[in-house]
Each structure stands twice: as C-alpha cells, then as structure tokens.
C-alpha cells in the first residue's frame, strides 16, 4: 500500500490547516460555548465550501477532518459531511446535491436509548449531533428505513464536550413516508462515518501531543526544561507512538474503503479503536505533563481533553470496536 500523498492531497492538507488555524481560534471555540451561533460565520464563509469532500474519496475527507479535529471546530460540518451527506445520497439525490453544494445542513439520528449506533425500534434517538441547528434530520428506522424531516423538537443532552452538541429527539409519528435503504449501504456509511470520526480524533490527538511537547521544552523547573527529564520524555514517546500508529491506521482504513477492499470492515474497527486509544492517551498524558496549568479552565487543554473523551464514546468506544473486531476475526 502506498501512503504517498498526491500533490492535490498535500495542497488540501496545507490549505485546510492554514484556514482552520486562522479562522477557528480557541476564542471562537470558547465563544461557541456561550452562544452556538458564534460559529455561523465560520460555516457561512468557509466550511460549507468543503462539504463537497463528502462526495469524493474518503481519504480526502479524512485529511480535512484531521484539521477540523486539530482546532476542535464546532458547528455542523461533521454532522453534515460525515453523517448526513452519505446517508442522504442513498435516499434523496436532489437534497444530496444541495448538501454537497453547501446549501443545506443535516444530521443523522440513529442511536437508540442505549446510545449505540445500531438500528433501534425505540421511540427516542440519542446523541444526535447538532440536531437543533441543522436544516434536516435523517432518522434511521427499523427495516432499515430512513425518514428525512425538517426541524424537529430536540432536547440538548448535557455532556462534557461543549464543542460537539448532541441531542435527544422523539421519532416523529405521522410525518412523511420513510424511504427504504439497503442494510449493506447503511453498514457502509456507518463505517465511513466511524473512520471520519477517527480522522477527526487524530487531529485532536495531534494538538494534544504537539502542545505537550512544546510546553515541556519551555517550562523550567529545577533550573532546566521539564522536557529534559527522562520520566516525561518516555511518557511523550509512548503517546507519540500511539498517535503515529493510529494516524496510519486511519489512513489505511480510508484507503481500504475507497478501494472497496474486503479488509475495510476490520480496518474501520482498527482505525476507531486505535484513534480513541491514542486520543485518550495523549489527553491524559498531556495533562499530566502540563501539570497544574493544564488543569485550569483558562488553559485550552481541557477543551481538547473533553472533545477526545466525548468522541471516544461516540460511534463506538475502543472496547465496542474490539468486540466487533473479535466477531470478524474469530467467529
């Protein structure tokens, strides 16, 4: 397998990184905490133009999502590009075209009361990202069928993470007729979304690792930078190793999905498990290496730590993915 980025992919990566570093500073992330509409200009002026990536190779979307994860960008981008767009492509081509053109936003309501992203016959859906501020909600019903609807009453679930807002909704009873969807298609797009979330986690892990390495080079104790102490160095090396292998696993999974390779199912579970592990390792280890300053509200580290934990438990935790992987490997 060839991990060499094409010239276009390198350009995409650099452009996205520069754009997001400029347009999504942590002041915006904090403003969004108080008022979700603070992120609207970022969406209107920039991110809507990048939803088109959802209709191309997953490798490209993942490169972009790694950069949104590195600035923990709030707003409807992930819900629209990683969840809604691939689902709506299967059920409503016209709406899909509008979404890809950046003209409409959407999200997916699938997880039932238990919070797991499996087909549910319950009357509630939980962990629906950004449900109150998107144009459309696609509700996955038994069958499987999909019900696409406009504004729905949504109750915000209070979580540790303020950067990705999640909601509980009631499955609407007498709305439009649901559309049938192939179960294999549903599996495919869930795998796509899982790898996309893993890519975003890689960006978050990268920020945590880079910030930690940079801080320990500057922080002086006992008359020397704390990053010169072997106890901290080895901790950071182990964080970096988990980060590096997870980043590679995510790229591989995206390539496997793009090539419709038979390995893609295993690769998707590996990607999310590795990314979740790496992000939490970098979050906990990063906090420890920062010491007291990292535990303050004022420092940005906790924003990333919260996002990492919340994303680990969204679309399947490490253990959940290992259990699915075991089924594919052993049974």
């Amino acid at each position: 397998m060839d991990f060499t980025l094409t010239d276009e992919q390198e350009l995409l990566q650099q452009t996205a990184r520069a754009l997001l570093e400029n347009e999504c500073p942590s002041t915006l992330v904090r403003a969004h905490m108080q008022d979700p509409s603070a992120v609207d200009p970022l969406w209107d002026k920039h991110l809507r133009d990048w939803v088109a990536l959802a209709d191309g190779e997953l490798v490209d979307l993942c490169l972009f999502l790694t950069e949104t994860g590195a600035v923990i960008a709030p707003g409807p981008y992930f819900a629209t590009a990683a969840l809604f767009a691939p689902l709506i492509k299967k059920v409503d081509r016209r709406l899909h075209d509008a979404v890809i053109a950046g003209e409409a936003t959407g999200t997916v309501a699938m997880a039932g009361p238990e919070g797991e992203w499996t087909i549910s016959s319950a009357s509630k859906r939980t962990f629906v990202p950004e449900a109150d501020r998107v144009d459309y909600v696609a509700v996955v019903l038994p069958g499987p069928r999909v019900l696409v609807t406009g504004g729905l009453p949504a109750r915000q679930m209070e979580t540790i993470d303020t950067t990705r807002r999640v909601f509980e909704i009631e499955v609407p009873r007498d709305a439009a007729t649901p559309v049938e969807i192939d179960e294999a298609d549903l599996t495919d797009l869930l795998e796509r979304a899982t790898v996309a979330l893993a890519a975003e986690l890689i960006g978050t892990a990268r920020w945590l690792l880079d910030s930690t390495v940079a801080y320990t080079k500057e922080r002086i104790q006992f008359d020397r930078p704390v990053g010169s102490f072997q106890g901290l160095q080895w901790k950071m090396v182990d964080m970096a190793l988990d980060y590096e292998r997870a980043a590679a696993a995510v790229s591989y999974a995206a390539m496997a999905i793009d090539a419709a390779d038979p390995e893609r199912h295993r690769a998707a579970h590996v990607a999310k498990a590795a990314a979740g592990r790496a992000a939490l390792h970098c979050a906990r280890g990063g906090l420890q290496c920062h010491g007291g300053i990292g535990y303050t509200w004022e420092h940005d580290l906790h924003l990333y730590l919260r996002r990492a934990y919340a994303s680990e438990y969204l679309l399947g935790s490490v253990d959940w993915h290992l259990d699915r992987l075991a089924e594919l490997l052993i049974d």
């Binding site: 060499t4 320990t216 190793l241 591989y252 496997a256 259990d323 490997l329």
Partner: protein, 388 residues
C-alpha cells in the same frame, strides 16, 4: 494514497515468487528450522545464500555483481514482504551481508571493497565484534585495545554477545586505538582473521538454553595494518553503517512475525476452547488492532523513505514491535494455561511451546539497542526534546 502497487512492481513480485517456489530449500522456511546454529554452518545454508546472490535476489537493490538487480525502493519492500510472508530466511548469518558488506563498500579501500561481494554471497562468514562486558548501551565506552606495533596492531580485550563467532572466518572488530582521545574519537575498525593465534571463542549460553552467541577473547592478537577499515580513529562513523537500501523496510520482519503470532493465537484459543471467552476475545482483537496499526505505520514511513525524506515513523518500529512481541507471546503462555511452563518429560514437551518464544521475545527489547535507548533517541531526534 492507494492500496495497490504498479503493474511493473507486481510483476517483480511474481518473478520472485516463481524463483522462491523453484529454489528455496525447505530448511530455509523458518517453521522447519531449529534456531540453534551450533558451531557449524549447514551446507544448505551456504548453497541457498549463494543461489540468491547468483540470481540477483540476495540484495535486490544492489547491482548484479553484488547479488542484486538494481531494484527500486518499492521493489525492495515487496521483496522483504514476500520473504517474510513465506517465512523464508536469506542467510543464516546477517553480519556479512547486512553490516560488513555495506560498510566495506562505503568505508573500505579499493582492495577491501573487493571483499564485499564474497561477504554478501556468504563465501566469507563474518562476526561483528561490538559489545563488551563494560560497553553495552554505552558502546563508545569499548575497551578492547589495539596497540600500534609498526606494521601490525596488537589486539587484547574481550567481546561479548558476538553472534556467529563459532562459525565465522573473520571478525569485523571495533577496537580502541587512542586511549587519550574522547571516547567516540579513539575507535577504529579492524578486520581480524578468526584463525589468528590468541583468539578464544567461548559459546555463551543464554536464558532460552541455547548458545548462539559467544564471548570472544583476544590475547595479544597480531593484525596486519592493512586490515584497518576506514580511517584510524574514525571507527565510530562505521557503527552507523548498514544496508541503507533496506533501512526503509526493516520493520517488515517484526510486523510479519506479529501477524503470524496473532493468527496462531486465534487458533490456539480455539484449540483450548476459550474462543468464546470475552476477556480472551478482547485481548486477541487488541493484538490484531496493534499489529495492523503498526503495519500501516511501517508503510506510511516507507512512503517518506522512498521519496528520500527522513522517515521518523520508522524510529518507532523497533521499539513497538519488540515490546509488542513480549505481550503476544505472553498471551500464548496464558492461553496454554498451567502446562504452558512444562518443557519436558512424560507430560508432553512441545519444542514450539510459547514459553520458548516468549523467552526469545524477552531478548528483543535488549539486543540491537534497548527499548530505553530507543525511547531516548526518539525523544531527542524525533520529538526534539532537550537532552537530560
């Protein structure tokens, strides 16, 4: 980024497969081989290495006169992938083709460079004298000294953990030629004939019970001056010498071994009737996850290597695969249960017991640079952290 290689590269792989099918002797397949080399090199080993060389399959990146076919980096990767997938070894002694040959080509005199081809072909068997009782991780602290005696050097001292010393024709030996210089600047490399009077080779038995290393004692061994390789007191540079062409793919072996172990562990879990156990399943899945992510990391680093940039990813691979192999083999031991520690007698000894593989794995995080040294190197060279 894409999963497949070019048609040209796939044709290269197909040609290699044909060659291996036709020529590889059964003994060269790892699972058929006892690891104890003893004190004689088997004839099939000599013949196999020479066959690889003569057909341009010993070091594919080299030109034909050095046992290769001018292969590209990608082809070198495919070559190592294929050998490891089929668990075929190239040589029973890596010192000559992987260390001495490339070092002679880079640092040797014109006359010495002519020794490269027979070293790579295995006609000359080499041992490499590096570690000493007081120079392990701190290799530059080595004390075996070579005293200038006109036309010759007189060498006295002791080497340890010297692989293949029992079968070697020559020793590629690191010695101290200037005791007053800073420790990195007083080291030279000598080529020493193992038949020279004053050399005593004692097999060194290690914890797995085998003796495939040796201690080598030098007592006033007389070495001609023309056997100096490279500059006098310039030996430290040569420690960095290795097969540069294959540096981007050295991780392939560790990853292939992990893949093989995971498959065997899944079989073992089934045989032991614990494949439905939730704890066992999670450990197996985690082992697969780690193997596959490391495999991806190896390929990612290779992409950088093939383009001529540095590949920091590869710094992690030795550390990661050797540490991981300890956990994998421990899992085998755990799955075997109480009888996993039984190695002989009427209770049924299986020479392939996981405990043996575990003991071998325990050496993997010590030899070739300990995990602790690897972490120090990564901290400084990859993460750019300040020296302690």
């Amino acid at each position: 980024m894409k999963l497949s290689w070019s048609e040209e590269d796939e044709a290269f792989r197909a040609e290699l497969r044909q060659f291996l099918d036709a020529h590889a002797p059964p003994e060269a397949r790892r699972r058929n081989r006892d690891y104890d080399l003893g004190d004689a090199l088997p004839e099939w080993g000599r013949h196999w290495q020479a066959t690889l060389f003569d057909n341009g399959w010993m070091i594919p990146a080299y030109p034909p006169e050095l046992g290769g076919r001018n292969a590209t980096p990608v082809q070198t990767l495919l070559y190592l992938e294929e050998l490891n997938r089929q668990q075929i070894i190239r040589s029973l002694h890596f010192g000559g083709y992987a260390i001495v040959g490339p070092s002679l080509l880079e640092f040797g005199s014109e006359q010495q460079r002519e020794l490269a081809a027979p070293s790579i072909r295995g006609d000359i068997v080499w041992c490499v004298g590096m570690s000493e009782p007081n120079a392990g991780s701190d290799l530059a602290g080595l004390q075996t000294r070579a005293v200038d005696d006109g036309d010759t050097f007189v060498v006295s001292g002791q080497k340890v953990w010297t692989s293949y010393a029992m079968i070697a024709d020559r020793c590629f030996c690191y010695v101290r030629t200037d005791r007053d210089a800073p420790k990195h600047k007083g080291i030279s490399v000598l080529m020493i004939d193992m038949d020279t009077p004053g050399i005593d080779v004692r097999p060194l038995r290690h914890i797995s019970g085998k003796a495939d290393f040796a201690e080598v004692f030098f007592d006033e061994v007389v070495v001609p001056k023309e056997n100096l390789i490279g500059d006098l007191n310039g030996g430290w540079r040569i420690t960095m010498g290795s097969l540069a062409h294959e540096r981007g793919a050295l991780w392939v072996e560790g990853v292939a071994a992990s893949q093989q172990l995971v498959e065997e562990l899944i079989e073992l879990a089934r045989d032991r009737g614990v494949a439905a156990d939730a704890g066992v399943r999670r450990r197996l899945a985690a082992a697969y996850e780690r193997t596959q992510s490391l495999r991806a990391l190896g390929y990612k680093g290779f992409a950088g290597f093939a383009q001529g940039s540095s590949a920091p990813e590869h710094s992690y691979m030795k550390l990661a695969t050797s540490e991981f192999r300890k956990e994998l083999t421990q899992l085998g031991l755990d799955l075997e249960g109480p009888f996993g520690v039984v190695t002989g007698g009427e209770w049924g000894a299986d020479p392939a017991r996981w405990v043996n593989r575990h003991f071998i794995a325990l050496a993997g995080t010590i030899g070739g640079g300990t995990s602790e040294i690897q972490r120090n190197v990564i901290a400084s060279r990859v993460l750019g952290l300040p020296k302690g």
